[in-house]
Symmetry: D2
Subunit: 358 residues, 4 copies
């Protein structure tokens, strides 16, 4: 299954070491003037080789739009696009014809399909997330018509954590450093930690926090389409994710109901707003007009630049000689992916909401 | 949207104060002998009024199966069922015709639909989860054919937390106490905490941990159908949930890749198994044959038995006089709901997996 | 698969000889005042035993609405409903435990599921179409808000055919006779033919023509969602159908393009209209604002009241002793089913269309 | 909506005058050795400029596969592909910036989207069917594993009709003439008719008959997933179609049940077969193991090489000066498209059927 969404739908394809990755954006509303440089800019935020804390692999990640636009405006027809793969070192992966790396998809894909594309992780490579970034960039431009903006940032790397909540941060600083953390001091610590880990041939995890502003009340759908459920599903489909929470999240477990409820401002203004936002902008599965915010936990990826004891496809012990060009911490490059997935979900629920009332 | 699943699909309906709740289970494989008492037993685990830590509301929650079985065996045709609502005190909710309770769905449903069923929370009531329990009970009986079992338990209430991980617990003790915690000492503390909170007219949150055993390697689908994403979406669709993580989860953020990778046992046996299970049984979005385990965070519900300052539908300040019969902590009754949703997802991916290979 | 539609969705359940049939209407827009008598009226048009040309089986077909309405108005939440089965003569079907009737679903269900509900055809019985009529009746009431009306009629039974096209008929006469044909003379001939066929214990086929008025231009979706494709799929899902065409249909094969194109009226009025309507109201898969009309062919059903040579489940020759209470011609009762399916499709495309533009 | 299928899914994109058309084939089972020349061969059967009876437009229609194969074998991952557009005469369409052609999608797309790509019909052009042919070619190679073959042919052009049913024809002769009719005499008449019509700048309709052999009993799904409904929806999504019937089809309306039922052979062999096949291989919505056959009616296309009175976007009378390179009869090139759509449906139901039983 490679399709996200219900009526705004994105279907992606492609492996890290094939000819190209790409996809089809279907259900894009007609009449949106598209800024293609802004689309490419999102890809540039995700692309490898952008700084010392990311992989050294080089890909220009240039998107080619093949359909669905006329004179730069969406026509309502599906938008096909491709991104050519460029910097392939397939021979880096020759050992993988026969070896299963620990905590990778090598064994699980083989178990599922009876075979796998061993080059660069095949479809399990995070490379495919570039196509989601393209779809998200289109969604984002439609959302801008409604005043909805989405901004994510790195809130934790290893044990370096931004203590302040997002309302006390200047999110416009996010892109001013390589780790994408709006707290400059923490950003420096995070960067140092990643470089240390990289030097050891090791990896480290982190957390991305995402904030959606401007969403009107009424988005999402009871029960199966709860907005929190849709965001959770979208985020947990990103490679290397292990957890998701929104609003008070896991921390809310320790709270009393009386502490955590979000009282309405009683100033007579309508639509109503709340004094606090422990709900994270979603109540009963539907947005309430406050900021929607959530956290996504990323594991330390399993691609070490070390020798690792493992097995081959027949169960024999072998040593995986980790090499190649990999991210010591995926979180900085995951920030635009989280935003893209959030945009895909938000546009879908915005469009679906139009059908809620006669 | 009230449908879960792709080819094993459950569509539910019903409000807490209508004539009945129910649903349609579609895609149930033919040829499964159904133990209807076991289905009712799952409902009994979820039903209100079962102990001092739950709401005092009484519902027999008797399921009536209307189709899809012959001589007690599934025919492959859809299984329709209803559960009559019985113990309705609609007048408890008269004030809600005009008031919005804080952190409820009162305002968000009104924003979405232009009106709402104010009686008992309408469709936003957790009462609808009873229908998911029925669907899950059918799924569970199909999964039993493959040796897959699902067991959840309460692992945290407020700050009372089971420290041991599930592999050190005797999960067969889960049903021996009212809070559904297999650690008897912690269970006692949890129960006491809930009773204290209840006495104050307040509520408290908690965590349910769920363990799936016997799932073969190969379940789940790359990218949009990643098993972790599907479980996350299913769990976060349950009322009052605020977070989800699996395997090492949020705690993995602090680990190094070299600590967290799950090395294969190198004993030559196939299919392979791992020495540790930080992955939580899922690698690259696909099950690897180890136990699948995850946690779901539940907030303290917003239904207080206190006076709460709020607003009415026109924005005027009013006082919500909390009353009625509510759960001070939803976690004990959420345990069978988590299991049911896990069963729905697992059967769906089991059936989908059959199409993966020629 | 028992779900129709994309965002207005109907999921049905039930066999002819179980406790009840029913379903869930999901995606019904909020704010529609429902006339429940009108819903029941549609069921009465479909119910058995209504005249000499239909089966003598008696079912009151009383619908019970279980959810989704408050004070008679749709809330946006799913509408669950059931219709109890009443007049079951299961013993009529005892021979079917072991025999396969020719041209029935007896063998094909067994091939698919490994077993079947032999009582009254189980899920393959046209009885399930009663649930579609309920869903269609709800859809129709939403469509009325937009001025869209749907009317079908019997245009052929055996070789008795209404020669005039619908624009020359007074469709308000459709319900004035038992066969539902607005041409009184042809209606008489059809009725006589059906009674003759019935006397012989035989059956006869026919054609239902359906006309949708008031649909605005712009409904339907290019390629997979073409309106003609959606109507074809919906109609061909009705029991006993063998063919579908719309506009000039099969007859258009013999025409030249120059004869068949629908020239625009050149009177300067906008939106434009056409001088002819060979297109049947759909061009390029999308409605053009003219009447949408189509035909559905129904075969003579295979349930004869005669002895028929056939085989049992082991392949041995046996004689099927046809008995029971069956329709000699399904067309008169299929008229409201065709209308219901048309309404389900139309409301779905109306709601989807709202997402087409920014 | 640009996606076909449930678990074998094809999503296409592209306009006739953009950079490329293409698509994503998702759910292709792993382990199928793909003959890429056979894929290209199917495209060659559909491509323009292949004979005197088709458009003179030249496109090499070369498919480029971008993902989903390793060493020529499907990996279970999505297959992305593109076909570059080459022979574009966009200036042929300049008048269409302001004119609506009769019986085209010019007005309906504008009504739906507020704008349209006027070049070559944009997405409404039959050019997109080339992408379906690619998807169908992959499906066909998977179906070959199960011994299922699909063959279509031209059975009627205007009033020239093949009288014999397909069982009396040698379908291996289909590709021996330009019109794709296995009856050589009729083929000659059809060809002459098309050339006559072409000379007049006019167009003519026709019928494609399709035969599926080797499908086992049990394919398709009751109610919404009836095989006849799925085939109808797929076929009626092809450009220029106006009708579909299967088995006895519209002609069955005149038959008695006693004439039309397909009696089982009573020779004791299992699985059972029938003496006749008026059912067209489908009973109760599910295949019965006999040949599946159906007919698709194509209208005379609306693109005339004549002057045609019409209106512009403001409703003013203008003359459409038909020119360009168009098919006088689409039927010969529609044959491989019908086959492709049949293959897409069949593979989907084959894979879905695996989930029918425990």
């Amino acid at each position: 299954m490679n399709t996200f969404g219900h009526i705004f739908r994105f279907t992606g394809f492609g492996e890290s070491h094939g000819a190209a990755i790409g996809g089809v954006i279907d259900g894009m509303p007609a009449g949106v003037k598209i800024d293609l440089e802004a689309v490419q800019h999102e890809l540039d935020r995700r692309k490898p080789g952008q700084s010392a804390v990311t992989t050294a692999r080089k890909e220009s990640d240039t998107v080619e739009i093949l359909s669905g636009l006329m004179d730069g405006v969406t026509t309502g027809c599906p938008i096909g696009f491709i991104i050519r793969n460029e910097n392939q070192h397939s021979s880096d992966y020759d050992q993988l014809r026969t070896a299963f790396r620990p905590s990778h998809a090598d064994y699980t894909y083989t178990a599922k399909y009876g075979l796998r594309d061993h080059r660069g992780g095949g479809r399990s490579s995070a490379r495919e997330t570039a196509t989601r970034v393209v779809a998200g960039a289109f969604a984002r431009q439609a959302l801008a018509h409604y005043g909805i903006t989405i901004q994510a940032y790195t809130s934790q790397v290893g044990d370096v954590k931004v203590d302040a909540d997002y309302t006390h941060l200047d999110l416009s600083l996010t892109e001013t450093n390589a780790v994408r953390c709006p707290d400059a001091v923490k950003a420096g610590e995070m960067e140092q930690l990643i470089l240390d880990v990289k030097r050891e041939g090791d990896t480290i995890g982190g957390v991305v926090t995402c904030v959606i502003k401007g969403a009107p009340a009424g988005l999402g759908d009871p029960v199966a389409g709860r907005l929190g459920a849709q965001l959770a599903g979208a985020m947990m489909s990103i490679n290397a994710t292990k957890g998701f929470d929104y609003g008070m999240g896991f921390a809310g477990v320790n709270m009393r109901g009386s502490e955590s409820i979000d009282l309405f401002r009683r100033d007579g203004t309508m639509p109503p707003h709340t004094l606090t936002n422990n709900s994270g902008g979603i109540q009963g599965g539907i947005s309430n007009g406050e900021d929607i915010y959530f956290r996504v936990a990323f594991k330390p990826v399993a691609t070490l630049i070390q020798d690792v004891p493992t097995i081959d496809v027949e169960g024999n012990p072998v040593t995986w000689k980790g090499r190649g060009r990999h991210d010591p911490c995926v979180v900085p490059r995951a920030v635009p992916v989280v935003e893209a997935m959030a945009a895909i979900v938000l546009l879908d629920v915005m469009l679906l909401d139009r059908a809620a009332r006669i």
